[in-house]
């Protein structure tokens, strides 16, 4: 197993992401050539490019970057390369929040908007955040937060959330059911400049905060007491990273639904390529996640023209086989 150079990979992704994004601008129900992209004087084309596609691509970049960088952080914090942000309860909580809004506020969804966001998005964010806080509180005692207990509490909260979700689905009518299941597939089609601004602000906050704890995460891979002996304030680092992850993933699921696999697979693949040093792993994962999601979303727009597929279906369809291949490779090594 050989490693690639970390700076090389980051550079390559930094070039690839704008290229993929630019190409993504051209594809969709209406195909626009690269030339027209820069010389468009047609109002309709302009609307498609700057009110529909550009915000959608920017949203994909931010969501992809946040999901995979928080994935890398969670895998480090849990010392488990198969952890993902949903372990701390945020996705299952968000799911309940969204379903609750769809079922109880069914008729008001399109009218009841706050700051340009639907009630479903707010419900999802609140649900995700509350579930994470609950998991965190359950696992925190006088001597600190136990990662093992967090894992178990996360499973318990996810089970309760699953049951609540089923209960809500049981009482919903056909239209609600369709909305719930569409939400759970994850979709970027509702992108707007409001959503992009919120998501970008959160993404920037995370990207500014994570480097501060990269070395602490490296030390944590040795074990919690080893990290403490290296001068790391383990409890403060845990609290900070869990809060940031809950915020980041909470906003992601609120704005784009449950986009699966990005948070699990991307950091895993990037780690195989450049090693587990979080100083490189986190930015490289962010770039790779952004690229994958833009790519997947472009495909989602064109595979069933003139209709569209939910983005989450494509990320899983693209990501899962890759992941299986990795598992098979790992099995060979053991």
């Amino acid at each position: 197993m050989r490693r690639f150079s970390a700076s090389g990979l980051i550079l390559a992704l930094a070039v690839l992401l704008p290229v993929v994004s630019l190409l993504s601008m051209t594809v969709g129900t209406v195909s626009i050539s690269l030339g027209d992209l820069f010389a468009a004087d047609n109002n309709q084309v302009n609307t498609i490019l700057f009110d529909i596609r550009l915000p959608r691509i920017l949203l994909a970049i931010c969501v992809g970057a946040v999901l995979s960088s928080t994935g890398a952080v969670m895998q480090g914090l849990f010392r488990n390369p198969l952890a993902d942000p949903s372990l701390i309860g945020v996705s299952s909580g968000a799911s309940v929040g969204a379903s609750l809004m769809i079922v109880t506020a069914g008729g008001f969804i399109h009218s009841g908007a706050l700051l340009g966001l639907s009630l479903v998005a707010l419900g999802a964010f609140v649900g995700g955040f509350v579930a994470t806080l609950l998991v965190y509180r359950l696992a925190t005692s006088g001597i600190g937060t136990s990662i093992t207990t967090m894992l178990l509490a996360g499973i318990a909260i996810a089970a309760i959330a699953g049951a609540l979700n089923s209960l809500l689905t049981y009482f919903s009518d056909n239209d609600m059911l369709r909305q719930i299941s569409l939400w759970q597939m994850g979709n970027l089609s509702g992108a707007s400049w409001t959503k992009v601004s919120i998501m970008a602000a959160v993404a920037l906050l995370l990207m500014a905060q994570f480097p501060r704890d990269s070395r602490a995460l490296n030390a944590l891979l040795l074990g919690e007491s080893e990290a403490r002996h290296l001068g790391v304030d383990v409890q403060a680092v845990k609290r900070r990273l869990i809060l940031l992850t809950a915020l980041g993933v909470g906003v992601c699921v609120a704005l784009a639904g449950l986009v699966g696999f990005v948070g699990l697979i991307i950091p895993h693949i990037v780690r195989l390529a450049i090693g587990p040093d979080h100083r490189w792993l986190i930015p490289a994962s962010a770039l790779a996640g952004a690229t994958l999601l833009v790519f997947a979303d472009s495909l989602a727009r064109i595979v069933v023209i003139p209709a569209e597929l939910p983005t989450g279906i494509l990320t899983a369809l693209l990501g899962a086989p890759f992941f299986v291949a990795l598992l098979l490779q790992q099995r060979k090594q053991v």
Binding site: R215, N218, L221, R228, H229, L230, G231, V232
Partner: protein, 257 residues
Amino acid sequence: MTMLADNISLHLSGFDLLRNVSIEVEAGKVTAIVGPNGAGKSSLLKVISGELEPSKGSVSLNQKPLNHWSLEQKAQMLAVLPQHALLNFPFTANEVVGLGRIPHQTGSVKDTQIVAEALELVDASYLQKRFYTQMSGGEKQRVQLARVLAQIWQPCELGEQFLVLDEPTSAFDLSHQKLTLDIVRNLADRGVGVVIVIHDLNLASRCADNLVVFNGGVIEAVGSPEEVLTEQLIDKVFEVKSIIASHPVSKKPLVIT
């Protein structure tokens, strides 16, 4: 300057792990701790390294209560090598040893040099770019030893430095056991206070200035190896019949069972 545990008791989930234990680790000396399994050796290490709060008694480092130092200051003076390593991510040996430099702000050029020197010292230069997850038990243990050595590689302005090792030689072959004892001795000569938990009584006898025998959560005996290692004591503590001879060269006590 010392690391001092004064009249420590430790109760955890209904068990008395330590009872009225006092121990003084002097800078520049090697203190070896021996005793049967479950005697409280590792518990004591956890208390003096600040990982567990004692139920009674106090711990101090360089004349200040241990928890009055900030975590970073403590990490600059005290390095700890635990018995079991949990690391299961594919860091290279260079990266693992580099983690030992986290408490210091010496810059990456200096750190790279220290990492290389520490790996060379433990005879692991050939592992530099190898993945930790693919190393043998003895290789992993040497890399972890290099990590804690890198942590206290340079003297610290805050006070004397200490190194706590919990069974550092358990996976080593003969030559690396000897290498470890030589490293420990050199560190002590440089002024570092070393605490080492070790099962092999003859290794303990060879390296220790001060030997502490633990039994059932209390200190059974303390003193130089010559004073402490007697046939009666070994019979009492380990329930093993033995003969104490004198090492033909070093003249240290030699335990023959």
